[in-house]
């Protein structure tokens, strides 16, 4: 529980920084230009370095996890996706994994049971919440593109319109706003309530959720409560995008909190567990073919080792073998 508190306090502290910096010290230029640019730079450089560091280590062995029948005899139906033997199979396996979280979909809970010993129950809720969470985030990021483009790409407009399907109140409450809040609440509660997950959770696990929650909440506040001049924000965003910075005038401190938290999230990304977003593409148990007996796989550092050769071995056992009438290589041994 102490880890949860640390994470909460840390998040509050982060929120106070822009409130203090802009509200009291009036550092608008610093918080609207320097922070976003440097955060994005850290994000970009950090992410590239992270991926380079992964790629710089070779994958020495072909270790796919086979979740289905191998391809062997012609009359046995092999599992094309679960035990892929070519690039198309790999593509399908990765596609399903990345777009639909397939491994998570398989999840089931193991429950001790007094008379039946064990019970396995399907656990689709976690999958559903995870997938809703990730897709909502994606749509939200996508929706923000309308701040960076003039004219707004039609696909972004279309997505926004779908998001605003239920026209409740003005401005419309968006689907993703609700879904992402419910999902974050679920993920947070799960970490707190489920004893196994609580046991393994680190400060950073709670922190990421609090951080995302604050980003989303400030975003919602900006939309519904502390309304900002959207044209002013757009001018600011375009300014950043076109390297022609502009300091927004008609926004409140809530905007600066939102901007600062998003910047922090970007800068934190390459140093946190959030890198799973990129790492999943490289996972060797999923992205390699199950064909290591068909095509030789090469290990770049496959160095020679000291083995015991047949000759050394026979030297020790030759007499014994001759006595037992086992064929040997060297019949006559010079003594």
């Amino acid at each position: 529980m102490i880890r949860l508190i640390y994470a909460f306090v840390l998040t509050l502290f982060l929120i106070l920084i822009p409130l203090f910096g802009v509200g009291i010290l009036g550092l608008t230029r610093f918080f609207s230009i320097v922070i976003p640019y440097s955060a994005f730079l850290i994000f970009l450089a950090g992410s590239i370095l992270r991926v380079l560091s992964w790629v710089s280590s070779p994958q020495p062995f072909k270790i796919p996890l086979t979740a289905g029948q191998q391809r062997s005899l012609q009359w046995i139906k092999s599992s094309y996706i679960e035990s892929p033997y070519n690039k198309i199979g790999i593509f399908m396996r990765m596609l399903l994994e990345i777009l639909f979280f397939r491994s998570l979909l398989k999840n089931e809970k193991t429950n001790p049971h007094v008379s039946k010993w064990l019970l396995f129950t399907s656990n689709k809720r976690f999958w559903l919440m995870s997938i809703l969470f990730h897709y909502s985030l994606l749509i939200i990021v996508f929706r923000h593109l309308k701040l960076f483009f003039e004219p707004i790409p039609s696909i972004v407009n279309l997505l926004s319109r779908i998001d605003a399907l239920f026209e409740i109140s003005i401005p419309t409450i968006l689907l993703t706003e609700i879904i992402v809040l419910v999902c974050i609440a679920y993920l947070l509660l799960r970490r707190i309530v489920v004893s196994q997950v609580r046991y393994i959770s680190l400060t950073s696990d709670y922190f990421v959720l609090f951080l995302l929650l604050s980003v989303v909440l400030t975003g919602i506040l900006l939309r519904h409560l502390f309304r900002v001049d959207i044209m002013d924000v757009k001018r600011f965003a375009l300014g950043l995008f076109l390297f022609n910075p502009y300091i927004p005038h008609f926004v409140g401190s809530c905007f600066y909190v939102h901007l600062f938290l998003v910047s922090f999230l970007f800068a934190y990304f390459p140093f946190s567990k959030l890198v799973h977003a990129g790492g999943v593409f490289l996972s060797p148990t999923r992205n390699l073919e199950n064909n290591s007996r068909t095509i030789r796989y090469l290990n770049p550092w496959n160095y020679p080792v000291k083995t015991r050769t047949y000759d050394e071995w026979e030297d020790e056992f030759r007499e014994m073998m001759k006595e037992a009438n086992i064929p040997v290589e060297k019949e006559d041994r010079k003594i």
Partner: protein
Amino acid sequence: MKKEIPPQMNLSPKDENWMEKKAEFKKGTYCYGAPLKHQNYLGLPNPREWQPHSEDWNLPENWKDIILQGMKDLLEKYRSFKLFMDICVRCGACTDKCHFFVGTGDPKNMPVLRAELLRSVYRRYFTLPGKIFKKFAGARELTEEVLKEWFYYFYQCTECRRCSLYCPYGIDTCEITMMGRELLNLVGCNIQWIVEPASNSFRTGNHLGVPPSAFKETLDFARDEIEELTGIKIDIPINRKGAEILFVAPSADYFASPHWYTLLGYLMVFHEIGLDYTWSTFASEGGNFGLFHSYELMKRLNAKIYEEAKRLKVKWILGGECGHMWRVIHQYMDTINGPADFLEEPVSPITGTRFLNAKSTKMVHIAEFTADLIYHGKLVLDKKRNDKWVITFHDSCNTARSMGILEEPRFILRNVCNNFYEMPENTIREKTFCCGSGAGLGADENLEARLKGGFPRAYAVNYVKQKFGVNMVACMCAIDKASLPVLLDYWVGGVEVCGVHELVGNALVMKGEKERVKNLRGEPILEAEKNEEDLR
């Protein structure tokens, strides 16, 4: 010792800071240290007599530097390791998938936490936030207590890969455990049950340390036993140059029970189809305990298979029923000791089938080979001879999740017996539960851990015993055959264990055989029918 009720399992760990909790070396849960003699024979680093339960592990002076340098090397060599250190989000999908966690309730047996044991140290010494924010970033100092904890938990993982199936990023605890054991080896912390068989295997060619003369004697004994059962005198070629096929099996097959009956099964099939093959006294072991120790040791022990195939001038290699042996052959052998360009693409001399899936490694699994024989009608089989048994099939972790050989053994079983029932679907095929004794943990001194770890498997067997009256578990792994009888005796009772080829041997109608009244175990074949008559 029969247990009707399972232990009071508790899968809800109580709140505590795991980083500060020490590993407790309770008798019955850990393996003994490796004997000095065998450490020296293999030339392992920092050799010494040492036991895990002693207070002082006599670690080398600079052990911390050795571990950190070793970790750096492994991170540079294995993308899997580096990636798995970085991308876990601790979502908890794997927590209750480990048989050791289910059986012991020890939270550090949750796969994610097993990896966190290494990850916490990785963060402290290899990441920026960990170096700066220390424990606030989930980082932990490397201390002797941490090293002891590593030893305890990396030798309480059977590298079965079940958790990896459920991980959304495919994080593989087997890789993590392998890295952990590589590191422990660097400071001379190894276990007897791995190092001794490995050293035996290096010297004599097999884990059990069977010298060539005794190897021949046991095969002669098998020949006599088959003659007694069938009236047919078969030929068992050893070290025969120019044979078409080299046959390699785990050594337990010719020196342990119930493996022995599987051996009889192989020999009968080979004789019946007139296979041109040979055994080898040098490559008298397919199993490879090096896999449970380090890359180097695995490679050193595996080298003899190709070397012997070359010396004997065979065309290709056939491999017996074994789990981890097949992980090495399927996913490692060609890479570490190939290319096998002196061999030919495997073709069944009986059916003409080309084993295209093995065209580079040139080694075929006996279940693939026999399934092909049966499919082409090359074996005459009398299923009734296995009627005494109601059979289920236990998929071995390695062959299921690292190879995908799922249908071949089932096809064979359906053709050699009448009563075959599957265990619950959450516990078979790729979701199979480990026997609890794999990856070098089949020792006697850690029996408590083994029985607890094997509990989920025993549960599933108990289930089919209650439901269908199952009294025989068939499997294709030498460790299973050794450990399941103990496990099932303890939890279930009245269920025996056999290899797939034992059942093939029973059902096989051989040309010129006398009336078969006994099965390969020397028990009357018709017992089942007699019992039924008695009941009436």
